[in-house]
């Protein structure tokens, strides 16, 4: 078992069937890991956006309902919408945990290309997705 970083075209990543032997295959694998890493950042940010939206449903239900008549006819009450957001957040969280561990295990192959792919993916993901948080 490799315990230090090395540059190589061969690696076995995560599953039996994902064994890489050729430079093209390695490039593809690095791309996949990069996308996984980007997706991880996106899911993280998506969770934050969902949390904010879930919070936005709460105060409105407290303040507006008591003062003003509901002007728009909503299909489901705010409580239900909050629960939907909560379930979505939970799903996002599970995806985030699994993706995080997957990327960690891929990096643990000690293949330097894979490692660089994960780092670049994380950087790109954070750079691209973070401004979207402000827009909500």
């Amino acid at each position: 078992m490799q315990m230090t970083f090395y540059f190589s075209d061969t690696a076995v990543l995560l599953f039996d069937f994902w064994s890489v032997h050729t430079p093209a295959g390695m490039a593809l694998s690095v791309l996949v890991i990069l996308l996984l890493s980007v997706l991880y950042e996106a899911v993280k940010m998506g969770k934050a956006v969902l949390l904010r939206r879930a919070l936005l449903t709460l105060p409105r239900s407290l303040s507006r309902e008591s003062l003003v008549e509901p002007e728009e006819t909503d299909t489901n009450p705010p409580e239900g919408r909050w629960f939907q957001y909560h379930v979505a957040q939970t799903l996002f969280h599970v995806v985030q945990v699994v993706l995080g561990y997957m990327v960690m295990l891929a990096v643990m192959s000690y293949n330097a290309w894979i490692f660089l792919g994960a780092i670049v993916g994380s950087t790109l993901g954070y750079f691209v997705v973070y401004p979207l948080l402000g827009r909500g």
Partner: protein, 216 residues
């Protein structure tokens, strides 16, 4: 004040549940270790006798019994090492027990994360309340909380936070190492535990944020 008390109690529930799952895990570990030692007295130090070790754990299908680390995902319940040398999974029943224990450990981790956040927010809120001069009949409470503001680093909340942080780091490393066994069942247990814990504890987060924003 009523709101405040209401927001405190689920925190305690989260911590309580965490303690419960922690003690459950500890109980499981004890049982398992006891079983191990009961299984064979000589096998308590198997590393010194490699041939004997080889003989005792000739599991069909799991291949070599050296501490060969699997490097890809697999589903097996034979000869799966779990964190400690005394903890080795060899039967479906033990795997089921380990699944439950890991599930609760992951849930405990999520609960601990939320509880820490919630405690931190609570202490921050109390500090902010203290800085506000509120002339009221209950002056004794105000004085009492003023004292905690003065000592920042040696205060009880900060100490508690530090201890909880250490526990969180240890548990998160344990979960990482468990995932690193590449055992499919244990990985599913970690993911499912994280999801369940988040589902049951994180509604707290929403309510706490709402209250603090509501108050100011």
């Amino acid at each position: 004040m009523f709101l405040y008390a209401e927001h405190l109690s689920p925190c305690a529930v989260a911590i309580g549940l965490g303690c419960l799952s922690g003690s459950l895990l500890r109980a499981f570990l004890n049982i398992s270790v006891a079983k191990m030692s009961h299984h064979g007295n000589g096998s308590m130090l198997p590393t010194t006798h490699p041939p004997e070790h080889h003989h005792s754990t000739a599991a069909p299908g799991s291949g070599h019994d050296m501490m060969m680390m699997a490097m890809t995902f697999h589903f097996s319940y034979k000869n799966v090492p779990l964190l400690f040398s005394g903890l080795k999974i060899n039967s479906p029943g033990e795997m089921a027990g380990a699944f439950v224990a890991v599930f609760f450990l992951a849930m405990f981790y999520e609960g601990l994360k939320i509880a820490r956040e919630c405690l931190l927010r609570k202490s921050q809120v109390s500090i902010r309340y203290n800085s506000m001069p509120v002339p009221g009949p209950n002056g004794t409470i105000l004085m009492e909380t003023h004292k905690t503001v003065g000592q920042q680093m040696l205060s009880f909340p900060h100490l508690l936070q530090t201890v909880l942080h250490v526990i969180q780091v240890v548990v998160s490393y344990f979960l990482m190492l468990i995932f690193m066994t590449y055992n499919g069942y244990l990985c599913i247990a970690v993911a499912a535990g994280a999801g369940t814990g988040y589902f049951f504890f994180s509604w707290k987060k929403a309510v706490v944020v709402d209250i603090t924003e509501h108050c100011h």
